[in-house]
């Protein structure tokens, strides 16, 4: 494909969108329960868990990527552990590796907005739902999640966007295999390395527009919700 007369390899774009989508869905399944558990935790160990979840925010991505390669290489403990259950695939330098890395790296972007949404819920409203005979799962899906939908939206958008913008972890865990694990951010790096500035410009512009639009979207969501509640 060519755009403005510049050759454009669309595979990294599609791959990036796929990884981001799968990561977001997985983090909804994993991050939301973690956020709920943390928000309800009364133990003093809570700070430890909160710090653990937030670690990817401050760690250099290469550190996370390094440990992931140690754990997930074909002889690593995680691969061996899964092997006991009949797993004989590979966890690094493929789509699975990209997703696992992204999930860990974007965890705080899902958990933190959800935690603050859960903590903002009124205890009385949850109690009222209980007394109307709503058991926990019933409450969770009919009261807790609908009332936390702002957190869900913000968390999902931030997770998606953050995954799209990732570089270090995906480079280390996914490698840079053209047509397989080369994501947009790495493709830009490659273009710059090879002095293909036109292609780098094009992909970078796409990223700038995408990121800007995402943030505007997040702020719009936040404003709409606070206006409605206010």
């Amino acid at each position: 494909m060519t755009l403005f007369g510049i050759p454009l390899d669309t595979h990294p774009i599609w791959l990036t969108l796929q990884v981001a989508a799968v990561t977001t869905i997985l983090l909804l399944l994993i991050g939301v329960p973690i956020a709920w558990g943390l928000s309800r935790m009364r133990s003093r160990w809570r700070v430890v868990f909160e710090a653990l979840v937030s670690l990817p925010l401050v760690l250099p991505p290469t550190v996370l990527g390094f440990y992931l390669i140690i754990a997930m290489n074909p002889n690593g403990p995680l691969t061996e552990f899964l092997g006991r259950f009949g797993f004989d695939g590979q966890l690094t330098f493929n789509f699975a590796g990209l997703v696992i890395g992204s999930v860990l790296f974007s965890l705080p972007f899902m958990v933190q907005p959800m935690m603050s949404a859960f903590q903002g819920l009124s205890e009385e409203v949850l109690d009222a739902a209980r007394l109307m005979r709503a058991g926990f799962l019933d409450r969770f899906f009919t009261v807790i999640l609908p009332l936390s939908r702002q957190g869900l939206l913000v968390g999902s958008v931030l997770t998606f966007a953050h995954t799209v913008g990732e570089f270090g972890v995906v480079l280390m865990v996914g490698g840079n295999i053209e047509g397989q694990t080369r994501m947009v951010s790495i493709a830009i790096f490659d273009h710059v390395e090879s002095f293909e500035y036109a292609q780098a410009h094009l992909l970078s512009a796409v990223m700038v527009i995408f990121s800007f639009a995402t943030l505007v979207g997040v702020y719009l969501i936040n404003r709409r919700f606070s206006a409605r509640l206010g």
């Binding site: 409203v125 009222a128 007394l131």
Partner: protein, 365 residues
Amino acid sequence: MFAGNLTLTVGEFRMASGDFAFDSDGVTALFGRSGSGKSTLLRAMAGLDRQTRGQLRFHDETWQDGRHALPAEQRDIGMVFQHAALLAHRTVRGNLDFAARRAPADRGAAIDRDQIIERTGLGPLLDRAVGKLSGGERQRIAIARALIGKPRVLMMDEPLAALDWRAKAELLDLFETVIRDFGIPTVIITHAPAEVERLADRVVFMSEGRVERVETLKEALGRVDSPLFTEEGPVASLDGHVEHVDGDPHRLRFVTTPQTGTGQPVTFQLGADGSTTEHGPRRLRVRADDVALARKRLDNISMQNQLPARIERIDTSAPGRRAVFLTLEDGQRLVSEVTDRAVADMGLDAGQAVIALVKSAALAR
């Protein structure tokens, strides 16, 4: 019947009820000052706090036994919180549906959804979002939602405390009639004596985290040191109903309900009260200050209510003041507050027949 002994610690506050037992039918008021443990006891009874310990039985069901508790969602309680606790993401109808969908199908055809909506006046609001409604409207939704869930017990935690006086009066009317008509056993928390006098059949007095005593309303109003009496002094509460005199909308009278087989209804003339159109059972609240005593009927006096009564007993209510407890012809009690000197001058004593002169009587509000 509720019987038990519950403890629950919330932060620094420890509620240890001690043994208690009271009938659950009719209306039970949990009464006490702020911080006396009323809300904590109610939460413990509803099973809303996992830290609750002790025993609780509702009729022959065990709701709490040590650490083991019947989950709150299985206790069939309809709850009205002080701030309504509506589901903000649903419309008024959505809130009612939430309760209806989870109500047991096999129970209580007596409580009909449409009837509840009509009684609570929610018809015009059904499709509104709950966010922008007034406090009174929100509480009407809360009570309707609680009733639609077909509860076996209604619990209310200071449901009127956050409302302005007009909404309070309207809601009190609604509670009184709804509780009576649907016949749901109710436990209500309040620190307003007037609300107790208006609604309650019995009072659970709480103080410093424990249940001090349980009394019928009649017992609670029958002692001069009752916590229900405020600076306005002793008060009597009479059961009866309101009717118009000769169909005149501006003249109202209150006719009491005899409490004994041989009792005769007693009639009070009321001042015009345009707000009262309801003709069902009501309660009349008469302050002891507003009741004077005479040996015989008086002519040429502005007091229209002159009621034959018998002196039950005379207690000292304050220095130099006596509370004279009277039994009316219908068997109900009135109380008059007079000076020591008046008692001595008139030679008043228990057992004597007197005429109670009632300056003004107000429908309990």
